[in-house]
């Protein structure tokens, strides 16, 4: 089955032979142990704890009341609808961008790649204010459409398009990194061979390039869908007040109404729905997966040839970069705009005037903490994610063993877990010495790593699967042990994807996903916390410093991405 689908028969796949010599069974089980243990302790135990505690006491009739009280049918409809639309638009924009950025070499390419990744870390409150300036009444968009004759106070805020637009803004980088990373390592000779054999360009695209990209497109689409499905802050901040997703409703029930059973009930529904989607799409992705010869990152890149390709590059690389940059530029501008004209006053206040509060935060300390937590989360995430992806890639693709199929869903399950529910699970589970970790800063990188794990695995998996099995086979035949195979074959070949995965976990941690569900310690403030702190009190200095701190976060993130990108320059070889 696999070999039929391998284009040009570049490498015949013998299913399951990856670990052949050194005992596929023991080897792969050892690989699975770390991620299963990590997810067991930090995801399943707390989650089961919280669900069992609040659902076991609910009488059967209680669930009917919950359906009514939470307006469940409408919430489900909105959740799924906005997620589908967001995924559709993110893919429509993201796939061409990934195709261009992963295929062509042109000036500013690295810069554009970094810029497209930055929105991912921006605190939603801040992005919200940028979107207000863009989409709100009298905003930039409003002024543009007013020229076309729309009413003067045209506003997209608090509407479905605003929610979708912000989801696209956040998730575009996922599609670009996941699909672009794959495209970058595709051997252009495959396509050239098709052309030589008489295929037209569109035919070569449809029959060669697209099938090779399909697994990564599916993976990126699934991630986008899951993120949009569990959208929280974008819906609260940019959506209309009548809009709620399952995630916002879980939060509202648990926190504002203190109705823990209803929150647990909704969490269970979300978990089951996202879990089933993950299982279905994992199966679909396995069917689409093909192995092929891969290249060192960047080797397949070529300069755009001719006017047509240059236009293509311009349309799909420069314009979307513009789309990602504009809200960020708006923020940077706002940090310079004082009541008396442009100036650095807010920056000076941010950097040099801490104030007399016990909790006054020096931005340098916040940067340090942010980077420290992000680095810890990155290490944790990779040490769990690499074996997890290697384990999944080692199994037979078309018909994996039952444990492998279950493990794949388990590894991606954090996508469907409500942050507030998991936070409450932590409170209920890690609450006795010596494991009283509730207020321990240790849990922060753990939570961030959990949130980043599905992204990491999804980024790594298509790359691992694309490694022709004969390479590790040959290595082990020649006497390399499992770790030797991993270090000298698998890792170098998958390096661009490892770098992309590292970038994601770094970004997830910098952006503080799910931070509200944990107890935090004011001694360890991070940049997003600094931003939120400023935005809880009135005054132009607070607003200005929040904008300056957000700009600082963008800069830290951009530098971080650039540094991680250097990983690819480590010595590596072509497959």
């Amino acid at each position: 089955m696999d070999s039929d689908r391998t284009p040009l028969g570049a490498s015949g796949t013998v299913s399951g032979a990856v670990n052949g010599r050194w005992g596929r069974f023991s080897g792969s089980i050892a690989l699975a142990l770390i991620p299963v243990a990590f997810l067991g302790i930090f995801l399943l135990v707390p989650l089961c704890h919280v669900l069992f505690r609040f659902l076991s006491a609910t009488p059967a009739g209680g669930f009917a009341a919950m359906v009514w009280n939470t307006d469940l049918p409408n919430v489900l409809l909105f959740t799924a609808g906005q997620a589908l639309l967001s995924t559709l638009f993110t893919l429509l924009l993201g796939v061409p961008v990934a195709y261009v950025l992963g295929g062509y070499r042109f000036p500013g390419r690295t810069f554009i790649l970094a810029v497209i990744g930055i929105p991912f870390v921006m605190p939603t409150v801040v992005v919200g204010s940028a979107f207000v300036a863009l989409l709100g009444p009298g905003g930039i968009l409003g002024r543009i459409v007013a020229l076309l004759g729309a009413p003067e106070d045209f506003s997209l805020l608090r509407s479905l398009p605003a929610v979708i637009l912000s989801n696209v803004f956040y998730d575009l980088s996922i599609v670009v990194k996941v699909v672009g990373g794959m495209r970058e390592r595709m051997d252009p000779r495959l396509r050239e061979a098709a052309l030589t054999l008489g295929a037209t360009r569109p035919a070569a695209f449809i029959r060669v390039t697209l099938p090779l990209l399909a697994p990564s497109i599916a993976a990126a689409g699934l991630l986008t869908f899951s993120f949009s499905f569990t959208a929280f802050a974008t819906v609260l901040i940019l959506g209309g007040p009548g809009m709620s997703t399952l995630e916002t409703e879980i939060y509202r029930q648990a926190v504002n109404l203190l109705d823990f059973p209803a929150a647990a009930f909704l969490s269970l529904i979300q978990l089951v729905l996202v879990g089933s989607i993950l299982a279905l799409s994992a199966a679909a992705e396995r069917r689409m997966s093909v192995s092929m010869k891969t290249l060192t990152a960047g080797r397949g890149l070529r300069r755009p040839a001719g006017g047509g390709e240059r236009l293509l590059v311009f349309l799909f690389a420069v314009l979307p970069a513009f789309f990602s940059t504009v809200p960020l530029l708006v923020l940077a501008m706002e940090s310079l705009r004082t009541p008396t004209g442009l100036g650095l006053r807010y920056w000076r206040m941010l950097l040099f005037e801490a104030g007399d509060s016990l909790f006054a935060v020096s931005p340098m300390a916040a940067i340090g903490n942010s980077i420290l937590f992000a680095a810890a989360a990155l290490l944790l995430c990779l040490s769990v994610g690499l074996p997890a992806a290697a384990y999944l890639a080692s199994g037979r693709r078309s018909s994996p063993s039952r444990p492998a199929a279950a493990a794949e869903v388990l590894f991606l399950l954090p996508l469907g877990v409500s942050a507030v529910t998991l936070g409450f699970g932590f409170l209920l589970t890690f609450n006795r010495p010596p494991f009283d970790l509730r207020a321990s800063p240790f849990l922060i990188p753990v939570a961030h790593a959990l949130a980043a794990l599905p992204l990491t695995i999804r980024t790594l998996l298509p790359a691992f699967r694309a490694i022709p099995p004969r390479l590790p086979e040959a290595a082990s035949t020649l006497g390399a042990g499992p770790s030797g195979v991993a270090m000298r074959i698998t890792l170098p070949l998958a390096l661009p994807s490892v770098a992309a995965a590292a970038g994601f976990s770094f970004a997830v941690s910098l952006g503080e996903f799910s931070a509200t569900s944990l107890l935090s310690r004011p001694e360890f403030p991070t940049l997003p916390i600094l931003v939120y702190q400023f935005l809880t009190l009135p005054g132009d200095a607070n607003r200005g410093r929040a904008m300056a701190a957000s700009t600082l976060l963008m800069v830290v993130c951009g530098i971080g991405f650039a540094a991680i990108d250097r990983l690819r320059l480590l010595p590596e070889r072509d497959a």
């Binding site: 300036a133 609260l236 901040i237 109404l257 203190l258 509060s357 016990l358 609450n431 935090s520 009190l537």
Partner: protein, 348 residues
């Protein structure tokens, strides 16, 4: 499973051992808006030979939810920041132990809502309407004088409020309207909100979104009326960048009620590791020194009547009178239903 926990312990124990200091540690859980001057907090530490460890529990509602979840085995000794809109629920959860601080003598009786002193009042804020002075002045339009005005056509589309199901000032404002218009009679609070909806009220999820996102006096918004606090104009001056304006750019609409007094309480959590020290901390919270630190740190009013207000407050944030108070038992009985009803009227 046990083995994994053992491994985890090996990884974490050194951290814990490292964190165990010589003086006793008092753990205080607060909401994210809590603040205190460094000097004042250090005074407590030297006076009692103890170390204060603050833990942030999220916003006020999140912190309370976490305290209730950890009933009997709390992650902190003291919880600061339960307000009167949630007082009943907090007390019903039975997570606080009573402590009648001698300092309570200096606290007005009207703020003491728990006769058993499980939760004692520390400060209070006043949720009311703020308006953008420049917006109204430049158009020579009158500022609304009372809640009723907001339903009139001349104020159509000018007001932004917070959703009471996700925001504490939003809930406070809803309660103010319930108190003002009542639940029965020919014109109830529901009729008022129907009229507001007809008049283009905008509801957003939280204070930051309303104040910085939609209010023209705070950020880049377009609406000149917002539900905020009576101390917000003073904060606009305090947190103005230099040169400081002489007058705040926003004003309060307080005259004909329509404001709600949000009282914040603190209490000792049942199962506290340091109950004695926790009691000293409650004394400290009510003591004049901390109380006089409150206004410029948190922009709310001190509960202790002997505490002097800073000049900024006496000039721009004098304590408003004539609020519509609902007693906390009535709030507790009605809150959920009012919120649901509000959602039906305003959002659906």
């Amino acid at each position: 499973m046990r083995i994994r926990f053992f491994l985890l312990a090996a990884a974490v124990l050194p951290l814990q051992a490292f964190a165990a200091p010589q003086p006793p540690v008092l753990r205080v859980m607060t909401h994210d808006s809590f603040s205190v001057s460094k000097a004042v907090a250090e005074r407590f530490e030297t006076l009692h030979q103890a170390k204060l460890q603050f833990i942030r529990g999220g916003d006020a509602a999140e912190a309370l939810a976490k305290a209730i979840l950890s009933k009997g085995n709390p992650p902190a000794d003291v919880l600061f920041g339960v307000d009167n809109t949630f007082l009943g629920r907090a007390l019903a959860a039975d997570i606080f132990q009573p402590y009648a601080s001698p300092r309570l003598a200096e606290i007005p009786d009207e703020l003491k809502l728990d006769p058993q002193n499980r939760l004692v009042p520390v400060d209070y804020g006043m949720v009311c309407l703020n308006y953008d002075k420049k917006w109204f002045a430049s158009r020579s339009r009158p500022v609304p004088a009372a809640l009723e005005d907001l339903a009139k056509p001349e104020f159509k589309g000018l007001l932004v409020v917070e959703n009471p199901s996700t925001s504490s000032p939003g809930l406070a404002f809803l309660l103010a309207t319930v108190a003002r218009f009542g639940e029965s009679g020919s014109y109830t609070w529901k009729d008022y909100w129907k009229a507001l909806r007809g008049n283009g009220v905008l509801a957003v999820s939280g204070w930051s979104e309303a104040y910085y996102g939609e209010f023209s006096g705070g950020g880049k918004g377009r609406r000149p009326l917002v539900v905020s606090y009576a101390t917000s104009p003073a904060a606009e001056i305090h947190y103005a960048s230099d040169p400081k304006p002489k007058e705040p750019s926003t004003g309060n609409i307080l005259e004909a009620a329509g404001s709600f007094r949000q009282i914040e309480f603190a209490g000792i959590l049942r199962g506290a590791r340091e109950p004695e020290l926790a009691a000293r901390f409650i004394d400290f919270l009510l003591d004049r020194e901390f109380q006089e630190d409150i206004p410029l740190q948190m922009f709310v009013y001190p509960a202790n009547r002997t505490a002097a207000l800073p000049e900024l407050f006496t000039r721009f944030a004098s304590v408003p009178s004539g609020t519509e108070d609902l007693d906390s038992a009535r709030i507790d009985a009605g809150r959920e239903e009012w919120i649901r009803e509000w959602i039906r009227i305003v959002l659906r």
